[in-house]
């Protein structure tokens, strides 16, 4: 009796194990690995499913998805990878995981600087990494990244971990613009100006300004919108109110940009559907949703940023190629260690 039970339990487990993956391989599907969060993607996915009848299967995680595709060694894993930064995207491309996609729709929708010439990756939205400044304690209305290492800000700057890829992208852009030696000096200066060791996320830095722990914080643009509209946690509206957003280097090269992007996986089982999904993401409906829900800058020519985003002021984007930022990502990570930024 007991043995029979055990046997049938094991049998059932084995069956489930075999059947589970088959269910996802039916026609009219795409399998998506997403570094982007579910709450943001789900409305888009629902809309896409409604329009095309294609079922979108998803796995969301912050780490290891690219490695999973790599380790699958060509087996059907994902058709599509969504990332939140250029470095992760380029990492996957450089590992030879990307399929070349050519699509007139994509070429028309996405400006050349936001996509790969060979169609191996596409930017979907962009965001800038800017300075949040205390309205009360910071008088100036313009700032540069370079200025952040000026001793006048000693003990006044807050930032999340130096090893976070948003920061690494910014540091990489500093290497690209100034060379490694000067970038390192700048990073040391910035480190010396920190109010306390890096910790928490971007919103935590905004809160620190509100609390009076620091006067400046380095953060992505869209968090401002999320705080300003946070009905569930209205306290964050007060944080946002205490802050003004400064777009750095508005007078010269412009503010540092990063993107969220997508790539189709090499030899994807559902390539045609995957391309349809990318086209959908670059289309008006999706771009508007990104702009309105997540306060990002849409990449599509002609799609405007939301009113909220516009209210922060005009953005002058740094025209540095995103591939340059990806190129120096690793070095930036090493510099963070070298100057002991996180200690």
């Amino acid at each position: 009796m007991y043995k029979t039970f055990l046997k049938s339990a094991l049998g059932a487990t084995a069956m489930m194990a075999i059947i589970a993956p088959i269910a996802v391989q039916a026609d009219g599907v795409i399998n998506v690995y997403s570094y982007r969060q579910a709450f943001l993607m789900q409305p888009l996915i629902d809309q896409f499913q409604k329009e095309t009848g294609i079922t979108v299967n998803t796995i969301y995680a912050k780490k290891g998805l690219v490695e999973k595709v790599k380790a699958a060694k060509g087996k059907d894993s994902a058709d599509l990878i969504l990332t939140v930064d250029i470095a992760r995207l380029m990492g996957a491309v450089n590992a030879g995981l990307a399929e070349e996609v050519s699509s007139d729709t994509l070429s028309a929708n996405i400006p050349a600087e936001f996509r790969d010439a060979d169609g191996k990756w596409f930017g979907i939205t962009s965001r800038s990494r800017v300075i949040y400044a205390s309205k009360e304690r910071v008088a100036q209305d313009a700032i540069t990244y370079e200025e952040l290492s000026d001793p006048k800000w000693k003990g006044k700057i807050c930032i999340r971990s130096g090893q976070h890829n948003y920061n690494l992208a910014l540091f990489a852009s500093m290497i690209a613009h100034h060379g490694e030696a000067d970038a390192q000096k700048w990073l040391e200066g910035l480190k010396a100006n920190l109010a306390h060791a890096p910790k928490g996320n971007d919103r935590a830095q905004a809160k620190s300004i509100f609390n009076g722990e620091c006067d400046l914080a380095i953060a992505n643009t869209y968090y401002m919108g999320k705080m300003q509209t946070n009905e569930k946690n209205p306290e964050q509206k007060d944080w946002a109110k205490s802050i003004k957003m400064l777009f750095p280097n508005a007078e010269d090269r412009g503010s540092h940009m990063n993107l969220s992007g997508v790539m189709v996986v090499k030899d994807a089982a559902n390539k045609a559907n995957a391309v349809k999904f990318v086209e959908f993401l670059s289309g008006d409906t999706a771009q508007k949703l990104y702009a309105e829900v997540n306060f990002e800058y849409p990449v599509k020519v002609g799609t405007e940023a939301s009113d909220m985003v516009k209210s922060w002021g005009a953005l002058k984007a740094d025209s540095l190629a995103l591939t340059e930022i990806a190129k120096y990502h690793k070095r930036a990570s090493e510099l963070v260690d070298i100057v002991k930024f996180n200690d």
């Binding site: 489930m16 996802v24 969060q37 796995i59 722990e213 999320k226």
Partner: protein, 578 residues
């Protein structure tokens, strides 16, 4: 006419017996049981070792040598942070776990009954959840700091000093307050089973109770306490969520920057192996320190322990000492979660919740059952065959607990892909077209269950092995001399005696599987969520409050096994034939 030659047949049989006997003699195996029984034990332990060996293999192929860079920059910081964290969590969990277990076992004081039941509660609290809770509790805008500001008439954070929870001290506190139950559990079981005769003898010889504790009870309980301690420390080492959140730079954080930001998975795996070595050395040192002394008891106590009544000051101290961990490790964060949940009671999709809870329960239940079966098989084989190699292999496999879940998850995924490479073509041959192109086991929930087995082998094997360790070998010998076969010894003597250990293993692996996050995240099939991944998904929006209901669910479901565990421990004389 074919008739088998009886002489020839006998000859073959004798030959076979000779061969088996030679094998048994060569490895000094017992003669009354077929060595064939070693096969399942060895195959199990080999299967569980594969992911760890895979990580070893990954570590052999780094993108570049990471050590010069690390050595010249942050390695010192990583190591010192790791050591401080481990020593801090180790000492704090030991003090809380062992002392509270001793107090509730040996003394009567106000609140003792409640404490003995509730001291396990923090087990139900995942560390990533309690970390968030404490940041909330000590937050600038929360009740505590607001009150300070109001009372002191301060305007901003700069006007007064308040400790920073997101710090090394905070990390040690938060991890210790949820990890001490491992030590409480193992040491309380040991204290309950200690020989009262020995304690009385020690007291008759003029030792005070405190001296008896240090000279008799503590050394006798040492193996059990050590099992609890290694579990707590491994959990502490693989923890990334809480540690990163608190800005503590341990080696584990270094694994991530090496792997993710410098694209060097091999390098990350090397750091992971350093963590592993660290735990392994700890185990070896403990073994050497015991110098092979066996701790199975020679006498079995008949009488239950008579608890000593504490009065006055001492009673109050004891109450405070035993109730504080419950308040800090459970009550306070629980209230915070409840408070956060209230706002979202109406907007929560409970229907989806049932699905997540079902997934969590099924996975954890299967994993827990299998973990106990495997743990039992390994410990028992090790005992009857007396093979050290098996034990060491199991120990090596179980230190996988100390490896960060994502890395272990990748190790498992890669192993399973290799397995799929073998079975794919076979299935194709049977007519299942395209099988070799699919992720068969690697893309199914089997991967998650396998991950739980590897991760929590330390828990199940540790608990069961300690259980076996308490059964004197003389029992086996007596039973054998009475003509019992190994199988009937297991059924009639061992199983009833280690039943509590089995239940402990079952429940602990169940709770740990429920709480597991990183490996589940990466190994889950498409569109598959558990309570833990759901909490993670909401919490990663940086709106933790909204995740509170799901978090509460994890805690509440975790309470059921904790309750069962309590019931089991409440029967001190289980082994006396009950």
């Amino acid at each position: 006419m074919t008739q088998t030659n009886p002489i020839k047949q006998q000859h073959i049989q004798t030959n076979k017996i000779m061969w088996v006997a030679k094998f048994q003699a060569m490895f000094r195996l017992p003669r009354d049981i077929s060595p064939i029984w070693l096969l399942p034990a060895f195959s199990m332990v080999l299967c569980l070792l594969v992911p760890i060996l895979t990580i070893f293999k990954i570590a052999f192929y780094p993108e570049e040598n990471i050590w010069p860079h690390l050595y010249n920059t942050v390695l010192g910081g990583y190591i010192s942070d790791t050591l401080i964290l481990v020593v801090g969590v180790g000492s704090l969990t030991l003090v809380i776990g062992v002392l509270s277990a001793w107090l509730v076992t040996m003394y009567n004081f106000p609140g003792r009954n409640i404490a003995s039941k509730l001291l396990l509660l923090p087990l139900a609290m995942p560390s990533y959840i309690i970390a968030y809770c404490y940041v909330e509790i000590f937050d600038y805008s929360n009740f505590i700091q607001s009150s300070i500001r109001q009372l002191g008439g301060f305007n901003s954070a700069k006007d007064y000093w308040f400790f920073e929870i997101r710090s090394m001290g905070g990390a040690i506190f938060v991890l210790s307050i949820v990890l001490y139950p491992y030590i409480y559990l193992t040491s309380r079981a040991a204290f309950l089973q200690q020989s009262v005769c020995l304690l009385e003898a020690s007291r008759m010889l003029g030792k005070t109770t405190i001296q008896s504790f240090f000279k008799v009870a503590l050394p006798l309980a040492r193996p059990a306490i050590f099992v609890g301690l290694t579990l707590a420390l491994m959990e502490c080492l693989n923890d990334v969520g809480a540690v990163e959140f608190f800005g503590v730079n341990t080696l584990t954080v270094g694994i991530y920057s090496t792997w993710l930001e410098r694209g060097n998975l091999g390098g990350g795996a090397q750091i992971a192996l350093v963590l592993l070595a660290f735990i392994f050395i700890l185990i070896i040192v403990e073994k050497l320190a015991r110098r092979g002394a066996k701790y199975s008891h020679t006498t079995r106590q008949i009488r239950p322990i008579k608890r000593i009544q504490l009065a006055g000051k001492h009673a109050i101290y004891a109450s405070i000492f035993c109730l504080t961990p419950i308040v800090l490790g459970f009550l306070l964060p629980f209230i915070q979660l409840l408070h956060d949940s209230l706002e979202f009671v109406e907007v929560t999709d409970y229907f989806a919740f049932i699905g997540y809870a079902k997934n969590s329960l099924i996975l954890s239940a299967i994993a827990a059952l299998l973990a106990v079966i495997i743990g039992l098989f390994l410990s028992y084989s090790e005992r009857i065959f007396n093979i050290k190699l098996l034990g060491w292999m199991a120990k090596l496999a179980s230190v996988g607990y100390a490896i960060p879940g994502v890395i272990l998850g990748l190790g498992i995924f890669i192993s399973l892909i290799a397995f799929d490479d073998i079975i794919g073509p076979i299935l194709e041959w049977f007519g299942y077209a395209g099988a070799s192109q699919k992720m068969l086991l690697s893309g199914s929930i089997f991967a998650i269950i396998f991950a739980y087995l590897v991760r929590f082998l330390a828990v199940s094997y540790g608990a069961i092995e300690t259980g076996f360790g308490k059964i004197p070998l003389s029992y086996d010998h007596a039973a054998k001399s009475l003509g019992h076969h190994k199988n009937s010894i297991l059924r009639k003597i061992h199983l009833p005696l280690i039943r509590p250990a089995l239940a402990t293993a079952l429940i602990l692996t169940f709770i740990d599987s429920m709480k597991e996050l990183p490996a589940t995240l990466i190994l889950r099939p498409f569109n598959f969520d558990t309570l833990a991944t759901h909490v993670y998904e909401i919490a990663s929006l940086e709106i933790f409050e909204e995740a509170a209901i799901a978090a509460l669910f994890i805690v509440l479901i975790g309470l059921i096994p904790v309750y069962l565990l309590n019931k089991m421990m409440a029967v001190p004389n289980w082994r006396d034939g009950k």
